[in-house]
Symmetry: C2
Subunit: 214 residues, 2 copies
């Protein structure tokens, strides 16, 4: 255990979808490196990692993305802004790339991975193109969930951004035809002292409504 | 910050999709309570929490679910087994329930929440029934991502279970017609000392392939 239960719950309770960031505070480079590493370590089904994470540094691009995000100021005012994109397909090249990467890290012959490869191929081929894209999108939400939890325990504020025009993001980011498509954004940084949303009591349904013991 | 960056990365590196659990080790009740609280605190778009989490305690039901999970032993051998289910729709009742709950916790009149309510209604009505279900499923993957990250920092092993027959799970769990449907399972507990998967080096794509600075 690397965190006490009390501190974990305190962190998850502390976090909220930050609406107003302090635009003068930047996440230090060493801390940002940890955020990126946590993204790299996100689990995915079969380990396929069917995503790309775009860290938007260019102020002009952030401004353009903001315009396609109902002008929510988090896109430009947060220290960092990430666009999480999902692979639009799951084809032989994707599977080969993953088998090759596993070999680089774990060694062993391709034959030892043949059963896994066959399983992934069967899984992918049983789905339509649209279903494969949908599956990759769901995997990308694992990354979003892990990202928000990791930011919270690191004391970094975050705001997931679903209210965006993914198609316009794709145009702005040059993702059209790239094999990846925008899923969701996430602003990260530090809350402004006067963000009134920070003071609103966190609302969740009662545990008994949400969790059933069977 | 409630965890050091080094400990966070160590925890995320320590975790893996545990294949063999130590069936003699149970997560203590107080710790399990923290896991449940972390689930309750999962963020969701508009705060709607379109999910239920079923904690499967009945050994017979776990055995039946195992049969519909390619007989993967994690379902029965792990200390705890959760089925994450998503709401199959997003209708006026769901929105009313959420507005009502927000009022209980945050006070204020329904009028103060009318703009948010209108926004959610517009969002829901613009989608087909199938799209609403799909959106809820994606939200549920946020919960899966946060759950795996929280388990890791608490030193609890986990295995996400996507290789399941969701339709058969729904039958076994009586979810058919309930307005909720199985999305994914997650086994939680402690790795067996001889789980050979624990020793395999963690494989991820290179950061430069996955993360782009724009």
């Amino acid at each position: 255990m690397t965190i006490t239960p009390e501190k974990l719950i305190a962190s998850l309770s502390w976090r909220y979808a930050t609406k107003q960031f302090d635009s003068t505070r930047k996440i230090p480079a060493a801390m940002w490196d940890v955020i990126e590493e946590s993204l790299v370590l996100t689990p995915s089904s079969f380990g396929l990692q069917p995503w790309k994470f775009l860290v938007i540094e260019d102020p002009g691009i952030r401004s353009n993305l903001c315009a396609e995000s109902w002008k929510q100021p988090q896109v430009t005012e947060a220290s960092h802004y990430i666009v999480l994109a999902a692979r639009t397909d799951l084809n032989a090249d994707d599977i080969d790339a993953w088998m090759s990467r596993m070999g680089e890290i774990q060694g062993g012959s391709p034959e030892t991975r043949a059963p896994l490869k066959g399983m992934i191929e069967g899984f992918a081929q049983a789905m339509s193109h649209e279903a494969r894209h949908g599956w990759n999108i769901r995997q990308t939400y694992i990354a979003l969930g892990q990202l928000m939890a990791c930011a919270a325990v690191l004391g970094i504020d975050a705001c997931p951004m679903e209210g965006i025009s993914a198609a316009d993001y794709d145009k702005i980011l040059g993702l059209e035809g790239s094999g990846y498509a925008t899923v969701v954004g996430c602003a990260l940084g530090y809350r402004a002292a006067d963000d009134k949303y920070a003071a609103i009591p966190k609302a969740r349904f009662e545990r008994a409504r949400m969790i059933k013991h069977v």
